[in-house]
Symmetry: C2
Subunit: 111 residues, 2 copies
DNA sequence: TTGACATGCAACCATTTAGTTGCATATAAG
DNA sequence: CTTATATGCAACTAAATGGTTGCATGTCAA
């Protein structure tokens, strides 16, 4: 697997967890939140959230900067855009054709 | 998490594994392959492939029909399309704004 | 009918993962 | 200076995951 695909892999793995998608959602609603803020109402410890944020940051889905004793987190939607462009749109091309194949296969199953 | 989000979760989890994305790719290249065909050159046992296909089928990313003693597998790109429409495009809206926030934050970090 | 072929099912194993607890460090405030 | 606040780091645990082996079942072909 080459470097580009490893990046894709990291993004998909990061997105595979509901808690992490919820974190992205929270930053989508209001960007630039601190770790403390991102922990609120999430039903897990700060350390767990830290780990999730680390995974998101490794996948380049968020970036963080320190301001004094707090750490601010910013959404980076670029990788999501890449997935849409390079991966999802590829299957878009096959959509109608695949549906046709599927329909045909199901019909011949009823013979 | 409601039913719709559980579906989204299943799709993302299914897509999180490289082997499963490779299986989708194989069906993308040629639709309607048997289990045996899908096992070729994959460096894992047939049972492992069966499990992957099961996960993909649970996520509705593939459908299968039996033809005699073989099982044919068909790509279903609809859930991928959904992810693109309902999830990815949402972050598309925030893309330029988020990049601006990020840039601003990095600048003030250099003060 | 018998044998070969395609697939199904279940138990088991190793690793990864999501979460925890406990403690350390750094910065802001009084 | 001292204390409270915000975060960092490491060890540990339980459960999920990806994979295996072994055997059972069903279907085609001679």
């Amino acid at each position: 697997m080459d470097t580009e695909n490893e990046a894709v892999d990291g993004i998909f793995r990061a997105l595979a967890d509901e808690s992490r998608r919820a974190l992205l959602d929270t930053l989508f609603a209001r960007n630039g939140q601190t770790l403390g803020e991102l922990c609120e109402g999430r039903g897990m410890t700060r350390q767990a959230v830290t780990k999730h944020l680390g995974i998101l940051e490794s996948a380049n889905l968020i970036a963080s900067v320190k301001r004094g004793r707090e750490k601010l987190h910013y959404l980076n939607p670029a990788p999501i855009h890449e997935i849409g462009e390079r991966w999802i749109s590829k299957y878009e091309r096959a959509r109608l054709e695949a549906l046709f194949d599927l329909k045909k296969a199901l019909e011949s199953d009823n013979d």
